[in-house]
């Protein structure tokens, strides 16, 4: 199952990496903090770690560290526009309750 990108999200990631000038792909995971337990982590990847799990979606590599996987397994990342705002949105089947801001969540 792993983690996937929508085609639109993949196109944007590709574009960002091209403009940035380097990067193997993106890292998606969680870290523990925030009002509701856990927070997403979304970063460019310059160096891959040995234990990283690598998924590929529409030509983009998504790296997930094994500890994060249980929390994000099955997530689809989409890129959306809401008014003037734009950015990545997650469809995470593991989430029970997210705090209102959407930046942190509980599983």
């Amino acid at each position: 199952m792993g983690v996937t990108l929508t085609e639109n999200a993949a196109r944007h990631v590709e574009n960002f990496i091209a403009k940035r000038g380097k990067g193997l792909g993106i890292r998606f995971g969680v870290k523990t903090s925030g009002c509701s337990g856990m927070a997403y982590k979304l970063e460019f990847v310059d160096d891959k770690h040995d234990e990283d799990l690598i998924f590929e979606s529409h030509g983009i590599k998504i790296l997930v560290d094994p500890k994060s996987l249980p929390y994000v397994e099955g997530t689809e990342l989409d890129f959306v526009r809401e008014g003037l705002n734009e950015g990545f949105k997650f469809n995470n089947p593991n989430v029970k309750d997210a705090c209102g801001c959407g930046e942190s969540f509980n599983v």
């Binding site: 940035r20 008014g83 705002n85 950015g87 990545f88």
Partner: protein, 621 residues
């Protein structure tokens, strides 16, 4: 749900801790807002996809305030209430504004800054600029999905204290937290990533709508330093429009129109100018309300020829800025082009010729300043833990204090890097002096009268001491935004006072340029004038001291001795009125010789007095 962005490796923000920051290019003609998103600086568009916001504010009779494109449409129909290029009025008095007579506004010459009477009442340039900043701030918040932590706003490198303060005030009024004011050319260099480039010296050539700025930047070991700045705030793309407009009138043989016709034709001129940057020729067609028709073709060569003097006006500052930096043109490693007007091919050619290399034009010259500001804002907001940046700017004109005789004592020299603090010690001039007045000036000349007055303040409560005994330490501090505060402290007693220099209005760049030029031209003359003033001050001091001594201790002299002193005194008074500093110096020396014996006797007496229980401070020497 909040929308997330991709961070740099290891830089994911803590939830709720990501600090939203934006960079704002508050231009004379156009303003933009940019941010760093997904690791890349981008200009933020409005809901119609337009990134540039014309810096135009319309005050409508119905109470609405309209900013940008919609206001631009009103500028032919409602000129009095539609304010263009408000940046030119920031921190300026009416007399500092160039071409006032050609402007359709109802100016109110208020103290300090000029104001404009609109249908909604009298508005200051600060309030008008705040309207522009408010729109850009709201756009950024809507685009980033949250409140802004802070913004970096760019200003021309030449902006003086008053203009910088006015810009900060406008931001405050718009509800924005200013992380930093950044010089426009510096921001451009940041956008080009010159900070990461190999070491070397770079020039930034910024020709916008209304201002021309030049900077020489030096990059070494990650430190980004502005070596020198120069420019002309009364030169920009607008002047090219104006020149073409005059040429059109001349060619079409029509009298200078006014009101709407003039505006329409000026707009046509501008369109033609912009077209000529991509095409060899441009048509100009307009039917005027007067019934006259204009139908002409302008070629690129015509345009280059008629605006050659304007292009040339940018050359002198190029020479000067190199001279200030102590460099020759071939030592410049790269030239960055900024501002929409640098799209004109003959400008690019002139710059290439001067520096002997093709300038950098791969970033959009309209956006480059905003992009650099966004990068800087992102760092200042604390979103890049890995970056340690040092951006050093310089002072455009020396800052100093008036000393006796109207002379300037420079405290911070021109081109000193910011932020900077310098202290200098001064002393009292008279016995028992308990207050000291300070006059802060800016300029390169030796005499106060030739410099610009910035502020005056007084230090009171100095304990009475003999002249020259008090030690008053004056500290000048200029922060990273270029704002000056001055404090004075009497070292023995600790009495202290300070001012934040918020001058009533600023220097125009023309004035700055003139003052610099005069400073160089008059260097020799100034030295003569300075020497004369110094001798006059010294003569006054000696005359006063001698008169005072004769008054209180005249009994120590016999008639013959007294006559000799009086004669030398009269001779010096006579010389003091003249212009020969060498003669005055001799007169002072002569009086000194004539009073040698007198002084010795007074000294003896003073010591005796002191020994009989008087305080030292009461002793007159």
């Amino acid at each position: 749900m909040a929308l997330l962005q991709i961070s740099e490796p290891g830089q994911s923000p803590e939830p709720h801790k990501h600090r939203l920051a934006a960079g704002i290019d508050l231009g004379t003609t156009n303003s933009l807002v940019a941010t760093v998103r997904n690791g890349i600086a981008v200009c933020l568009p409005d809901e119609h996809g337009r990134t540039m916001l014309p810096s135009i504010v319309q005050y409508r009779a119905d109470g609405d305030v309209v900013v940008g494109q919609s206001a631009a449409q009103a500028h032919t129909t409602d000129p009095k209430n539609t304010i263009l290029s408000v940046k030119r009025f920031m921190g300026r008095g009416l007399k500092d504004v160039i071409h006032v007579e050609a402007m359709p506004y109802d100016f109110v010459d208020a103290e300090g800054m000029v104001r404009l009477r609109t249908v909604q009442g009298v508005r200051s340039p600060v309030e008008i600029s705040a309207e522009i900043l408010r729109v850009l701030g709201a756009r950024a918040e809507a685009s980033l999905g949250g409140p802004l932590t802070g913004v970096v706003i760019t200003v021309p490198a030449y902006f003086d204290e008053a203009q910088r303060q006015a810009t900060k005030d406008a931001a405050k009024l718009a509800g924005l937290n200013v992380l930093r004011l950044l010089n426009e050319p510096t921001a451009a260099a940041v956008a080009y990533g010159l900070d990461n480039a190999s070491e070397g010296v770079y020039a930034v050539y910024d020709l916008g709508g209304g201002t021309f700025d030049l900077s020489i930047l030096k990059l070494s070991r990650g430190i980004f330093e502005v070596l020198a700045t120069s420019g002309d705030s009364a030169l920009g793309g607008d002047d090219f429009d104006h020149r073409l407009f005059c040429w059109l009138l001349d060619k079409a043989r029509i009298a200078p129109p006014s009101g709407e016709d003039a505006r329409r034709l000026l707009m046509k001129a501008r369109e033609a100018k912009e077209l000529l940057s991509v095409c060899e020729e441009a048509p100009v067609r307009a039917s005027l309300a007067s019934g006259e028709e204009v139908s002409l073709i302008v070629t690129r060569d015509d345009f280059a020829r008629m605006t050659e003097h304007l292009v040339r006006k940018t050359i002198a500052p190029m020479r000067k800025v190199l001279r200030d930096a102590g460099l020759s043109a071939d030592e410049v490693k790269g030239v960055v082009m900024v501002g929409g007007a640098t799209r004109m091919p003959h400008i690019q050619r002139a710059v290439a010729d001067f520096f002997g290399q093709e300038p950098l034009t791969n970033l959009d010259p309209d956006k480059v300043v905003a992009l650099g500001a966004a990068i800087q804002a992102n760092i200042l907001a604390g979103n890049r833990k890995d970056e340690e940046w040092l951006l050093l700017d310089v002072i455009p004109l020396s800052l100093g204090l008036e000393t006796m005789g109207g002379l300037v004592e420079k405290v911070i020299p021109r081109n000193a890097t910011l932020p900077i603090a310098r202290a200098q010690e001064f002393t009292t001039f008279k016995d028992g002096q308990t207050a000291m007045a300070f006059h802060v000036v800016q300029g390169e000349r030796e005499l106060v009268a030739d410099c610009r007055s910035l502020a005056r303040f007084e230090l009171r409560g100095i304990p009475p001491m003999a002249a020259g005994a008090a030690r008053i330490r004056v500290t000048f501090q200029v922060d990273a935004d270029g704002l000056l505060s001055v404090s004075a402290r009497e070292m023995a007693s600790g009495v202290e006072t300070s001012v934040l220099v918020k001058p009533s209005y600023g220097l125009s760049d023309d004035e700055i340029a003139d003052m610099l030029k005069e400073g160089i031209e008059h260097a020799e003359e100034d030295m003569g004038a300075r020497a004369l003033r110094e001798q006059q001050v010294e003569a006054d001091r000696v005359i006063e001291a001698t008169e005072h001594a004769l008054e209180v201790d005249g009994a120590l002299l016999d008639d013959g001795e007294r006559a000799k002193v009086e004669a030398a005194l009269a001779a010096l008074r006579e010389l003091r009125g003249g212009v020969d500093h060498a003669a005055i110096r001799q007169g002072i020396a002569a009086l000194g010789r004539a009073t040698d014996e007198f002084a010795a006797r007074r000294m003896d007496r003073s010591i005796r007095t002191a020994l009989t229980g008087h305080k030292v401070s009461e002793i007159e020497v």
